[in-house]
């Protein structure tokens, strides 16, 4: 009798606990995940290799250095992208001021034309320098733009379904993300188009612990329709370098600071 009571209590409490944690965490998981993937440390630096491969296996490579500085945790961020290779785009710089509520600011410095240009983008789902990555994939999609729904929990991960608040602004109808329970890194995102067909997959290929931060060191985005894919690998990742805010200004586009070059 007592045993049975105990059992009931346990079952009840577990059920209670689980339900509460479900309803609470959908948004929280995403929030945590956002921080884990884009806001590690106060700033960061990384060498990036980008391999773009089309459906015929024809490759294009780019190498760059990315500097990042967070202005608010989970909010505004600054990115400085310096091109190392190929040689005909060397010294090109992209500067991005990521905003949460408004469009990002983007600048482009084209050394061969001695030109600094503001690029206005109507949305963040434009290609990042010809790759399968969108700007949003590089700098992160604002968590407020989607409604989140925890649709499944496995031993190691949460599966969250994200439906856009403003469906007209994007080309997908929803995407599901598999989020690692321990690191909160999104491991795989599958995008479904407006006809209900999966057309795009973003996956993490390797994760390393760097200075206590679980860091994605290789990821891939595949376009299932065109058959093209881009693999980005990160190396020499560093955090908390104390990057100065002024580096991330128009002034430093022409005069690339050392830390961004080497």
């Amino acid at each position: 009798m007592q045993k049975r009571l105990m059992k009931t209590i346990i079952i009840l409490s577990t059920a209670l606990f689980t339900t509460t944690s479900y309803s609470l965490t959908a948004d929280e998981i995403v929030k945590k995940s956002n921080l884990a993937s884009y806001y590690s440390g106060d700033d960061g630096k990384s060498y990036v290799k980008m391999d773009i491969k089309d459906s015929q296996g024809r490759k294009r490579k780019r190498e760059l250095i990315i500097l990042r500085k967070d202005l608010e945790e989970g909010g505004k961020q600054l990115f400085y992208l310096y091109f190392r290779k190929p040689s005909d785009v060397r010294k090109m710089v992209f500067l991005v001021h990521k905003n949460i509520k408004t469009d990002d600011y983007r600048w482009l410095y084209l050394p061969a034309l001695d030109l600094v240009k503001r690029i206005a983008a109507s949305d963040k789902r434009t290609s990042f320098v010809g790759s399968n990555f969108f700007y949003e994939d590089v700098s992160g999609r604002s968590v407020n733009e989607d409604k989140h729904e925890l649709i499944n929990t496995t031993d190691n991960s949460y599966i969250v379904k994200n439906t856009p608040v403003n469906p007209d602004s994007v080309e997908f109808s929803f995407y599901t993300v598999e989020i690692d329970k321990k690191t909160y890194l999104p491991l795989k995102a599958v995008y479904t188009d407006k006809n209900g067909k999966e057309y795009r997959i973003a996956e993490v290929l390797s994760v390393e612990n760097i200075k206590g931060f679980a860091t994605v060191t290789k990821s891939r985005i595949k376009n299932l329709v065109s058959g093209s894919e881009t693999v980005i690998s990160f190396s020499k990742v560093k955090y908390n370098l104390g990057l100065k805010k002024k580096i991330f200004t128009e002034r430093y586009l022409r005069k690339v600071p050392r830390i961004a070059r080497k």
């Binding site: 024809r58 005909d88 084209l110 290609s127 320098v129 790759s131 065109s226």
Partner: protein, 860 residues
């Protein structure tokens, strides 16, 4: 005589013969369920044909697809097509089209990712405060007329879109729908038309065209025609024969022969695994008249000769004796005309020739085997009754007319011969004016909606006929040592030279390929740079610039001089009348470069350096559709495609463009030698056309000689052989002379019809000459002979002319021009060769009687 053996057999076992024929026909008919249809004119070239291989390679390398073109025109609204209502429809139609896919095979679809439409193209434009903006041209339907006009301004200011997607007059927009397979085009058109039906208001006119649509729709309509025109022709022939012979029982037999011939031939074609192609689908139409001709000769003669006293058995035996030889030879000659097509280099034409040729011999065999058997089934009383009813037949209109012709040819022989000569001379002049040309869109009659769409859209846009001019740099083959020296030479700094000496040697000694060499070299240099001071780091990295430029030296289409060359070439293209528009990488670079410099006109040019070009392009690649670039250039930048839009798809114009470009490149050489090639459906058509025309000329000449030899053999005399060739030659001269004079293009159907002409036009002459010689032998007097000649033989010919010529008039009402052409041709062949035979042959024989009968006497 062999004829007697077969005839006797057939008459002895009429039931078995008939049963056997029915069984074989049923078996062959059952094979027809295996039908595989192929309506792609591309298959006029064999799979491994060099130009076709190149075409497919280009399509792959530049991710190009065959496109269905949907044009929307609005002449009514003051802002043309750029009004809220029209744009809304275009937006909806594009979204609808993007989802089109085959229900059975999802791979067969509209390639939504490559659609060119206002909602699917990205534009680059000024966005105030020195900003440029990449944005969809029309992401959402505009709400106000101002917004619509803004879209107009944006579209027209984009040189890639103007004349291609938007008409310069602002009255039309074209949506380009790439299809994964060409044979999905018809369905795309059908489903679009259904959707368009649902739109309200009729200010917007919708037009659908493009070569894939034309070709695929032609294929579909062609098969409908097969099911409509062929039976209609059969019906017409049936009615005409009924008028002549007044007995359904009697005339049903030619019908049976025709149907059995067509079924067995098509069954065999399909059963042997051949696909039914545009060409081979015309086999029934070709076989029917030929199959009917022989039986009409038999029936006609049987009908004329039948006499109750003689009885049907003896009559048919006599008729078969008379006709066996001429029928065999008319069949052999027709067959030879078609079998010669086997030597053309075009696979579907070869198959066509082979099977028509087979069908002709089959028809002959069936005729001599089955007709006597069939006669055995007829009731003797009924036949004699038909004859009695037709008691006036001695004095019919036809008989009176033929009698008069008989006198005329005898009295005015020289006049007739001179007239024939004069006509032929004029015809030869006409033939010299023949223009070889074809255009699949013109296979539809003028009022067909595809023809109309073609006309309307080509008046609004740069052109709906796409072809691609491909330029490719030639690869050098430098040794690693030479490359290594090049690097050293281009590094100016003495200290740097020293610094990279070790990495160079190391890379040189350990590398097998150029790629490996550069990877190792750059890695070595970077390793050194990592440990160097900041200044040295930058200097060492500048070496990477050098190695990079050498490594990528084949990327010629990033170089300003090559892009400027493209632009010059395009300027030349624009000067060719039929070229409405051309697009290339140069246009992309110029447009983006100008927008980077606040849209100032003076910057509408190619940047001065390779890096300048590359950086302009990488700016472009921050758009929604960065890969659009690779429709114009390969990712390695070693090959470029210039999209050439022609507003007329006639082969002759395409050929003109190809020639003109070749001449221009010769006179204005590019910065370095480039391989020049063409791809695209419009171009492919010119290639198979040329093969076809040359092939046809050869096979025609070949079979002309073969037919002559056969004639000489049949009559055991080259002189009589030559005589037999005269009506045929005149028929060909006159028909093709008229084609030259009226300016009708010498196209695919006309080329193929030359074989039919050859095969059919000699038939009457064989019958006629055979009878002249036979009768002359008998009577020994020419005048008497002619009198006899204008009895049964002339009547049989006249009946044949009328049956075939009028019987195929239903073809004239077909919506497809090749079918109309066949109808006109059949009538012309029959009429001209018939008249030439009946009038010319007696005249010539009379005039040159000494020659003919001297030879004849010695031969017979």
């Amino acid at each position: 005589m062999k004829a007697k053996v077969i005839t006797d057999f057939s008459m002895k076992y009429p039931k078995r013969v008939t049963a056997l024929m029915i069984v074989i026909t049923l078996i062959m008919a059952s094979l027809m369920v295996m039908i595989k249809v192929d309506t792609d004119p591309e298959n006029m070239l064999s799979e491994d044909e060099a130009v076709r291989v190149f075409h497919n390679k280009v399509k792959k390398e530049f991710t190009l697809h065959d496109m269905v073109v949907v044009g929307v025109v609005n002449d009514k609204h003051k802002n043309g097509i750029f009004n809220v209502e029209s744009l809304k429809k275009i937006h909806e139609l594009t979204a609808f089209a993007a989802g089109l896919q085959d229900k059975k095979n999802e791979q067969k679809r509209v390639l939504s990712e490559y659609i060119i439409a206002p909602s699917n193209v990205d534009t680059i434009a000024q966005a105030g405060q020195g900003q440029v903006r990449f944005d969809w041209l029309m992401k959402k339907t505009p709400k106000t007329e101002e917004q619509a006009l803004k879209i107009k301004a944006m579209a027209l200011s984009n040189p890639l879109l103007k004349g291609t997607m938007v008409a310069e007059d602002g009255k039309a927009i074209a949506i380009y729908l790439p299809v994964s397979e060409k044979d999905f085009s018809y369905e795309v058109r059908e489903r679009l038309l259904e959707r368009i039906e649902k739109f309200e208001g009729d200010d917007d006119k919708f037009y659908i065209t493009g070569l894939p649509v034309a070709e695929d729709t032609f294929g579909v309509e062609m098969f409908i025609q097969m099911a409509v025109s062929a039976p209609l022709a059969m019906l017409a022939i049936f009615i005409l024969m009924l008028l002549f012979f007044k007995s359904i029982k009697l005339i049903i037999s030619p019908m049976i022969i025709a149907v059995v011939t067509v079924i067995v031939t098509m069954g065999l074609l399909i059963g042997t695994g051949n696909t039914v192609h545009i060409m081979t689908s015309m086999i029934p139409i070709f076989l029917m008249p030929i199959a009917v001709v022989d039986s009409v000769h038999i029936i006609s003669e049987f009908y004329d000769r039948y006499d109750k006293k003689l009885g049907k058995v003896k009559t048919i035996v006599k008729v078969m004796e008379h006709l066996f030889k001429p029928m065999l030879f008319t069949s052999l000659t027709s067959s030879a005309g078609f079998i010669s097509l086997v030597i053309t280099p075009i696979p579907p034409v070869q198959t066509f020739g082979l099977f028509v040729s087979f069908g002709i011999m089959l028809a002959w065999f069936l005729t001599i085997l089955f007709i006597p058997a069939y006669i055995m089934f007829l009731d003797e009383d009924k036949i004699s009754k038909i004859k009695r009813d037709d008691s006036e037949h001695k004095d019919t209109l036809m008989n009176r007319f033929l009698k008069r012709v008989s006198f005329f040819t005898y009295d005015r022989a020289k006049l007739i011969i001179s007239a024939g000569l004069i006509l032929s001379t004029i015809a030869v002049y006409g033939i010299t004016k023949i223009e070889i040309n074809d255009n699949p869109v013109k296979w539809f009659k003028k009022s067909h909606s595809i023809r109309v769409s073609d006309k309307v859209l080509n008046s609004h846009f740069g052109g709906t006929y796409g072809s691609y001019l491909i330029l490719e740099g030639k690869k050098d083959s430098l040794s690693l040592k030479e490359i290594s020296n090049m690097v050293l030479k281009q590094v100016n700094d003495v200290e740097l030279k020293k610094a990279i000496d070790a990495p160079l040697t190391k890379a040189l000694n350990s590398s097998k390929s150029e790629g490996e060499f550069f990877t190792k070299l750059e890695k070595e240099i970077e390793t050194i740079a990592d440990d160097a001071s900041d200044d040295d780091y930058d200097r060492l990295m500048s070496v990477i610039d050098v190695t990079g430029s050498i490594k990528n030296r084949s990327e010629i289409f990033k170089k300003p001089d090559y892009l400027n060359y493209l632009a010059t070439l395009q300027k030349h293209l624009a000067s060719i009348e039929v070229v409405g528009k051309s697009n290339s990488l140069a246009d992309v670079v110029k447009k983006v470069y100008m927008e980077l410099f606040e849209g100032k006109k003076e910057y509408y040019k190619i940047p001065d350096t390779k890096n300048g070009v590359t950086q302009t392009l990488i700016s472009f690649q921050n758009s929604h559709k960065p890969d659009d670039l690779f429709h114009f250039v390969t990712p390695k930048y070693d090959k470029a495609a210039v999209w050439v839009q022609l507003n007329n798809g006639d082969n002759k114009y395409m050929e003109e463009v190809v020639k003109s470009v070749a001449a221009f490149i010769k006179d204005n050489p590019p910065p370095s030698e480039l391989k020049v090639g063409w791809a695209g459906l419009t171009f492919l058509n010119t290639v198979w056309q040329e093969k076809m025309v040359n092939g046809m000329v050869n096979s025609f000449l070949g079979s002309f000689i073969v037919v002559f030899l056969m004639m000489a053999f049949l009559f055991r005399s080259p002189v009589w052989g030559l005589l037999a060739m005269i009506p045929l030659s005149i028929t060909i001269l006159l028909i093709y002379g008229v084609i030259g004079f009226i300016g009708k293009d010498y196209d695919m159907p006309i080329a193929v019809l030359s074989s039919l002409t050859l095969g059919l036009a000699v038939d009457f002459a064989i019958h006629f000459i055979e009878r002249i010689r036979e009768t002359y032998q008998e009577k020994g007097d020419l005048k008497e002979t002619f009198k006899d000649l204008f009895e049964e033989p002339a009547r049989a010919i006249t009946r044949n002319i009328i049956v075939i010529a009028i019987g195929f008039t239903p073809l004239l009402f077909a919506p497809l021009v090749p079918y109309q052409t066949v109808g006109v041709f059949l009538a012309s062949i029959m009429l001209i060769s018939g008249i030439a035979t009946v009038i010319l042959i007696p005249s010539i024989v009379k005039t040159l009687r000494n020659i003919f009968f001297r030879y004849n006497k010695s031969a017979v």
